[in-house]
């Protein structure tokens, strides 16, 4: 067993998720998310916007 080897060539690169510490450090109050989400077509938004972005547009 070794620590994680280098990924084989051709394998997808992965956006590095935050660690728990980073998530904690970056945590912020709800309601500050996505104040300026662009709206130019709901269906296009559903395909373009992430779930987090889309749901942040809900009022209330």
């Amino acid at each position: 067993m070794t620590p994680a080897d280098a990924p084989p060539s051709g394998e997808r690169a992965v956006r590095r998720p935050l660690t728990t510490r980073e998530r904690f450090d970056r945590s912020r109050p709800a309601g500050e998310l996505m104040a300026d989400v662009p709206w130019d077509g709901v269906l296009a938004d559903a395909d373009r916007m992430t779930a987090r972005q889309f749901l942040a547009t809900l009022v209330g």
Binding site: P7, R15, R23, F24, A46, A51, F54
Partner: protein
């Protein structure tokens, strides 16, 4: 007070050093694996995400040794050595972070591990973040990868009368009339509690389902579900509910610019089981969807059923709003308002 505080707990922002203070239900809401060990390496706690990714039933692993029985690939200096140093106090670091490769018989997983000693206790925590999924490595010694669930229980004499899904989670096959029986029991014992009880039950279910969906997304795409397109997420949620027999869920996002959107559930199991109620019956589903969407949004959202098949409508209809609109929407639903009447009442436009 405890239940209220937990109801919209947002575990993604938990401080690693506060993990020991979370109860088991809260650990199960975390979107990463958590394993708690004593100083000898015996597993004390094992959360849902870790069980899902290791494809092991926690009840089969608690009480076993992590390094010797459950994750033998970690019994190497790069991992076990760090743990022993932390136990013996020969390292000054209260938290160690390192990359590792977990070997399972069904595949390998690149992970980042956060290892820490719980404050003021002799418990040690491994927080395991999946980074990349790979095929199983070849030419390993047979006992090196983690054992399969079936191998673990075989040593205990097997499992008679236990059904498991593809990820070794225990499941039960039961007729949906079980819900009819539950409703009749509730109507007899405490009829006023049906809606409250089922909604909270649904929230609890939804928190676990959110972790389940997140783990499935990581495994399939290596992306967090909340970072995937809303359309894909809708498909994943609908597929899961359909596969489990809850009905056919569809999301109508066309009114989203007004700040809310609509869900339809066709062939709802709960509504079919609760026809005798002749009122809105799908509180369980509404609670579940509230928890799932709140998890995805990282803020509180509320799902309210407006129309129910149990009332004679063709299908069940729900509205999704921000939590500050919860009371207003609940009152409108109680009055029998339609979806567009809700939009009008809340005010069109953003």
């Amino acid at each position: 007070m405890r239940a209220a505080a937990v109801a919209f707990h947002q575990p993604a922002t938990v401080d690693p050093f506060e993990v020991d203070g979370l109860d088991d239900a809260e650990l199960d809401e975390l979107p990463f694996g958590v394993v708690c060990l004593d100083a000898s390496g015996t597993i004390l706690r094992y959360n849902l995400a870790e069980a899902r990714m290791a494809r092991l039933d926690r009840h089969s692993v608690i009480g076993r040794t992590f390094f010797g029985e459950v994750a033998r690939c970690t019994d190497v200096p790069e991992f076990r050595g760090r743990f022993d140093a932390m136990v013996q106090g020969t390292t000054e670091e209260p938290l160690q972070r390192f990359d590792f490769l977990f070997d399972f018989k069904f595949g390998a997983q690149e992970v980042e591990v956060e290892m820490l000693r719980a404050p003021a206790s002799e418990r040690f925590y491994l927080l395991v973040h999946r980074r990349r999924f790979r095929s199983a490595r070849e030419n390993l010694a047979p006992d090196f990868p983690a054992p399969l669930q079936s191998e673990l229980v075989e040593r205990d004499g097997g499992e008679r009368g236990v059904l498991r899904d593809d990820h070794e989670q225990r499941v039960v096959h039961a007729p949906y009339a079980l819900f009819s029986s539950l409703l009749r029991t509730c109507q007899r014992v405490a009829p006023e509690t049906w809606g409250i009880f089922c909604r909270e039950w649904g929230v609890q279910w939804g928190r676990r389902l959110a972790v389940e969906l997140e783990m499935a997304s990581l495994e399939a795409t290596e992306l967090s579900l909340k970072e995937r397109a809303m359309g894909e997420v809708a498909d994943a949620l609908s597929a899961r509910l359909r596969d489990q027999g809850w009905g056919e869920l569809s999301l109508d996002l066309s009114d989203a610019p007004t700040g809310l959107f609509r869900l339809e559930l066709h062939e709802s199991t709960i509504a079919a089981a609760a026809r005798s109620l002749q009122g809105r019956a799908c509180h369980l589903v509404a609670g579940m969807l509230s928890a799932v969407f709140s998890n995805l949004a990282d803020r509180r959202l509320h799902v309210e059923e407006l129309r129910c098949r149990a009332q004679g409508h063709a299908h069940c209809e729900f509205v999704v709003v921000g939590s500050t609109r919860k009371d207003r929407v609940a009152a409108l639903a109680e009055e029998g308002a339609s979806f567009h009447e809700v939009i009008d009442a809340l005010g069109r436009g953003r």
